[in-house]
Amino acid sequence: MVASLRRFRWWRLAVLIILGIYFFGPLVAAFLFTVHNTRLHTWSFAPYGQMFGAAGFGASLRMTLWISLLTIGIVMLLMVPTMLAIHLRLPKARGIVETICMVPLVISPVALVAGVSTVLGWGLNNQGSWIFRLDAQLQSQSLPLILPLIDVVLVMPFVFRALDAGLRAVDIKTLVEASRNLGASWLLTTWRVVVPNLRTALLSGSILTLALVFGEYTVSSILGFTPFAVWIVQDGQGSGQLPIAVSLLSLLLSWVVLFFVAFAGSRRFRVSPASPTPVSSAVRSI
């Protein structure tokens, strides 16, 4: 007993406690803030019930969901063929594509949106032209299409890593050749062989995209749109508890989805028992 106590590394426990406080402390504080009325000294879950009826909640949530779906669709249509080409035909292009995809990590969203604003301004100087009409579509208040286009750029590093890990987890070249040899066209091969074996990587890339779009504030705010993240901040200026409750719930939802994806990835699509699962590799690499 004494020997086992001596063997116990106390510093490990200390590090864990410090990390736990650092990570969970703000969350616990935020939760207490949402349920405790400091003036009346009462406890209530009312903010969690009020959020669905709050002004702007539904519209901002709908807008964000649409932006998320469009972003996921565009980025996957762009990245899946690109990553396949890199792994099957153009391995030398990998470095160039990876560098391009990582650029958003080193360029501030403020700098990005400054450039986008300049380009969007061209339409204002050409009223009635197709550029003007395109600008109007891109900046529609109900569904600003410019946001998914910008978000595609912002999520590229994460989607690149997720797909790259997924493609490395299986011998995609041999699988594609086997499918082609059995008579499948490129389209059928992609649909029946590539996508099913990348399902977890696609899912994890989509979840990461969803999480980023839900939390994206800078670009939307500067361009004057009100998706979910901007609504939380704007609404928080009037009522403190409601937006914090919404933030906590959206965070919890993201965790649940991520754990679900990780669990699904560890149970299915194993090439061999020893090989890493696409989602765990993706999550590790991100």
Binding site: D171, T174, A178, R180, N181, L182, G183, A184, N197
Partner: protein, 369 residues
Amino acid sequence: MTGVNSIALATGRPIAQRASAAGLDLTGLHRAYGETRALDGLDLSVAPGELVALLGPSGCGKTTALRIVAGFERPDAGSVRVGGTDITTVTPSKRDMGMVFQSYSLFPHLSATDNVAFGLRIRRVSSTVRRSKALELLELVGMSAQADRYPHQLSGGQQQRVALARALAIQPTVLLLDEPLSALDAKVRLQLRDEIRRIQISLGITTVLVTHDQEEALSVADRVAVMRSGRLEQCAPPAELYARPATPFVAEFVGVMNRIKGVISADNRVRVGDQSLAIDGEHPPANTPVWVLTRPESVRVSVQPSSQLDGALIQVATFLGAITRLTLTLPDGTDVKADLPSHEAGQFPIGSYATVTLADRAVLIVPRS
């Protein structure tokens, strides 16, 4: 196991009575990767129903040749013909060829049955028919008990059996085997090798096997095509290849070969030590120093005093089961390998001296320059 005759695919035609077995002709194939010439004018013909093994060292171009036949590579020059039809530029999905890959190529998300049925599904065969055909083929390769298992639940040998069934399911005109046994352990490799040959003979399917394992090539192929530096050195039945190699490379690549110094004599024989051997075919002029290539089983070892290659020192004795291979060093420093029945090996302890005699004829005579 279900008899082969009972198996009929989507066309309703029994596999064993295939009418589609076609010959394969490769003519003047060239393929270069930058400065490296993978294929340098390869010519090869495979008769309908024949199994030809492409054998050669790493980098000789055998896999490139197979990938060109499958359509995964385009040759820089030359043509590929199946049944007389030029398919050089035909896309892989239209070539009607079954292929078993070196690495495990089963689709991880499909069960063994669905893997086998994949090609039939692509051909829009009804689900009932393709499932029954898949099960029959799985039975043919001895995998019916694992029909519902996924690839990660199968051993390497089992995966290759399923891959073979999958390749056969589409009734290919040519079956391509790209070192399908190289990742398997020795026992499974032998079993599957024999089964592949049995099924190939049963179906009468034209087959090309790529391998770097000469034992594998010699044991299953109707003919073995030995390749070197992108060219065909010799293509012949295994026994002929072993007994009458066309070039020194083939002689030394296939089987174990001794190189012993000799000189061509005036009577059109070759003199090795005090021994005079007959020569087959053309040979260098008299008094030319040559290497005499001979197999270990053609080397006789005796303990009796002799005027032949006297005084060979026994260096190593390797037990190989029925035979034991002795490595002896001749007085001129040349190492010679000799096979003898294992029950006689006790007469030749390591470190002792013995007399070496060569059989009447050498396999090949090569100028010593």
